[in-house]
């Protein structure tokens, strides 16, 4: 396999982008990444999108979007793995370059979620769970994560305050991110007094509905060196694991085993451990998710992720900063785009281009993108080369 580098990144300002179409949002981010990379063509492209069909009534995105980009007949592939579609799109671009099949590849993600009303958006998101044996019985997506939270609280003593600490920290970070959907800070009291969605999760424990896109360009590391973009960011590891789609089919509801498995593979490939990481961008679709992911990545022992979040260990100036971008919680969560935006943040952090939210002396960064209630998990590790 060839070594691979990320040579360009792009992302537009996320939010409720009523005046812009699905294809316009995507093209904006893709052009930015191509310009940042300084290339005049790409050999292939991947687009991560959870549900073009249910959100905008449009499938066949590989062909549609490569045409929109003016890249005509190149192979364009749409990748779907629910909320992990973006991370998986990147993984396929990485594999295409590492294998020698293609040289310059565009990896993208997009979701346009506000063309439908709240009920339709909720339905579209719920298709990441088991339609016949979870959703048919009246559970919602926040409800599934709420059931995981209740197990975690019951088993390990995780508290309501610790959940709130995740939201407060991510909004603090997001307030420093000019592209974030919600740049306002929140207090623990505001989180704990916000509207209850599914006990114990309140609306400020949940990531929002967002329109947005993100894109990156990958190329062989050797070729990237000759293009002289400095510092270079190398892909040190790419891993992907799956689990039962229905939460009730899992042995231990307080453990995200697909994330544990993918992390194990990623650390092995990169030849690094948790103490080598300078920061992590993780899938905080709900506050409890960030706590459980931080444990599954091995950053903290099982059951101690909540206490770690409350202690400040995951803050921008903490022992291991988590979600310096503001995470899904503050930056927004256009599902298919999220995994790519995490990678963009990792690349900018490693280049030292994150301004007020810069993690000092960042050398290794990890991204973790998750589908459904953890039925898929995609992890990448990046290194400042």
């Amino acid at each position: 396999m060839r070594e691979v580098a990320v040579i360009g990144v792009g992302m537009n300002s996320w939010g409720e982008l009523w005046e812009k179409s699905h294809r316009a949002i995507w093209t904006e981010a893709a052009l930015q990444a191509i310009e940042d990379a300084g290339v005049d063509h790409v050999d292939a492209m991947y687009v991560g999108c959870m549900s073009g069909g249910l959100f905008v009534g449009q499938e066949h995105l590989g062909a549609l979007l490569s045409d929109q980009l003016g890249m005509g007949p190149i192979p364009g592939t749409r990748v779907e793995s629910a909320c992990a579609s973006g991370g998986l799109s990147f993984r396929h671009a990485y594999m295409a370059v590492a294998s020698g099949m293609h040289d310059v590849v565009l990896a993208t993600g997009v979701e346009k979620m506000t063309d439908v009303d709240g009920a339709a958006a909720t339905y579209a998101l719920s298709t990441a769970a088991d339609q016949e044996y979870e959703c048919y019985n009246g559970i919602t997506f926040p409800g599934l994560y709420a059931m995981m939270a209740n197990v975690h609280m019951n088993k390990y003593g995780t508290t309501r305050e610790q959940l709130a600490a995740v939201a407060v920290k991510n909004h603090d970070n997001g307030s420093l991110n000019p592209l974030a959907q919600f740049r306002g800070k929140v207090t623990a009291e505001q989180v704990m007094n916000s509207v209850m969605v599914a006990d114990p999760l309140r609306v400020l424990d949940c990531s929002p509905i967002t329109d947005g896109a993100a894109a990156v360009v990958v190329a062989p590391l050797d070729m990237a060196r000759s293009m002289a973009r400095s510092p270079l960011v190398r892909v040190a590891a790419s891993a992907h694991a799956t689990d039962a789609i229905a939460l009730h089919d899992r042995e231990d509801l307080a453990v995200l085993s697909s994330t544990e498995k993918a992390a194990e593979g990623a650390y092995r490939q990169a030849g690094v451990g948790t103490s080598d990481l300078s920061f992590c961008e993780v899938h905080d679709c709900f506050t409890i998710a960030e706590i459980m992911v931080s444990e599954a990545l091995g950053l903290f022992d099982r059951g101690s992720g909540g206490a770690a979040a409350a202690s400040g260990a995951t803050a921008l100036d903490g022992k291991i900063p988590i979600n310096p971008s503001g995470g899904l919680k503050s930056k927004g969560h256009p599902v298919g785009a999220t995994g790519i935006a995490q990678i963009r943040e990792a690349v900018l952090q490693l280049r030292g281009e994150c301004g007020d939210r810069q993690v000092q002396n960042a050398r290794y960064g990890l991204t973790q993108n998750m589908g459904g209630t953890g039925a898929s998990s995609v992890i990448h590790i990046f290194e400042r080369a």
Partner: protein
Amino acid sequence: MTGPARYWREIPQRYRYEAAKCKGCGKVFFPPRTVCNGCRGQAFDDIRLAQTGTVETFTVIRVAPSGFADQAPYAVGIIKLDDGVKLTAQIVDCDPEKVAIGDPVKLEFRRLQEDGESGILCYGYKFVPAT
């Protein structure tokens, strides 16, 4: 609009709680599967699920999906049946705020959702407190 076949073919599970037990390793699947994910066996015995169990976890749904709006707030839990099978279902005939992990419950046949656009009545299992 979803046609009736999608509901009809799940009737053995939703009305009669039919599950499959792997002849190779004994793992029980609900709903039945073609391949056992424990031993990859493809031969199963038909069994009927246990009708009692305990609440492994739960939540109270305040913002309900379409088809359930008239029932909110309501409790939904993951129930571990006495035969070890776990399933997701509503917990009813009780104050949703008073449900707790470890509560004993028993399975009952109920109407689950409002009529959808296709006018199909959706039935299935819910759990009630076992006292």
